[in-house]
Subunit: 210 residues, 2 copies
Amino acid sequence: MENYIENLNWRYATKKFNPEKKLSEDEVQSLLKSIQLSASSYGLQPYEVFVISDEETKAKLKPAAWNQSQLTDASHVFVFAGLKKIDENYLDAYLDNISKIRDIQIQDLSGLKNMLTTNIVEQPEANQKTWAQKQAYIALGNLLSAAAHLKIDTCPMEGFDAQKFDEILGINETNLTSAVIATAGFRSEEDQMQHAKKVRKQKEELFHII
Amino acid sequence: MENYIENLNWRYATKKFNPEKKLSEDEVQSLLKSIQLSASSYGLQPYEVFVISDEETKAKLKPAAWNQSQLTDASHVFVFAGLKKIDENYLDAYLDNISKIRDIQIQDLSGLKNMLTTNIVEQPEANQKTWAQKQAYIALGNLLSAAAHLKIDTCPMEGFDAQKFDEILGINETNLTSAVIATAGFRSEEDQMQHAKKVRKQKEELFHII
């Protein structure tokens, strides 16, 4: 566990990546696996993830993220796009997946379907969108931890224009919208932030032990 | 990394905990450290976490979480409470912390303060609350991963009455509100869900490689 905590201490929001250093295919696959295995409410995974190493696409995204250099210097850009709305079709595909993987008759999942219809599908659309994005943030957390474990640098970012990202990714007329992004690669030796002391709330401020 | 992924595969949303098995103090401290080191937007950590092993408090919370047995059977209940509003005082305490830890004059942080005032403090209160909760979900993700690494079982839960939780925790008239919870402890041998195959979207459905 000490190593696990050390890796979390090692990570920081990388401001300057080394543009020469790229993630290997194995590293990318490990990161994808950690995202895929993330917990989500009912396991609904109400998001999709764009994994971008194409230089041209990264260059197009950069101005929509206040020209932050990470967009083009980092090896990969991960865009977590949340569902805008969870409809019955989505639910059916999810139930179908459970039915196949766990070898359960679809009619035996009707109780689950009714509950999810009430708790999610019938909720106001704005709530569904927020809920989907929160689930994406769990996956973002997983990506950051897994990357730290592999000594891969990351920078999670909310400073981008979601509408422009959606247009560039060609999802603006779909049920997806960009929720949060993370760049991943390797820190530049020049990034002074790697030497800055980590700032966190003291335990007494952050936790209430009952 | 194989071990890391194996641990993520090992974890599942535990439905039935063994009420006899408790987390050790060392285990609790490791989990707290993983939460404390979580990334958050600008490092603002706009949440506090209630870490509850007191049986009486757990029993009080249980009916406010649809009587789910995890509340009392699990060793610990973690309640992530997000800030409702980020005000100037909160910002000042945050900047003060940076100033002390990094030995920077507070006036040299005025650019950062102005940016955070525009980007966060001056945003509509509802947006601030949602934003704070999203940050808490990153920390939730970290808790789940760290627990899996320690072979500690968890169950993240959204099915609870936040208002009742706030009352029981005595925070209903404060700037905090319960956002999401996780129970932690050790699975009961009787929990059949530990044998169920993990259901996840296929990589082709979840990822767009560009």
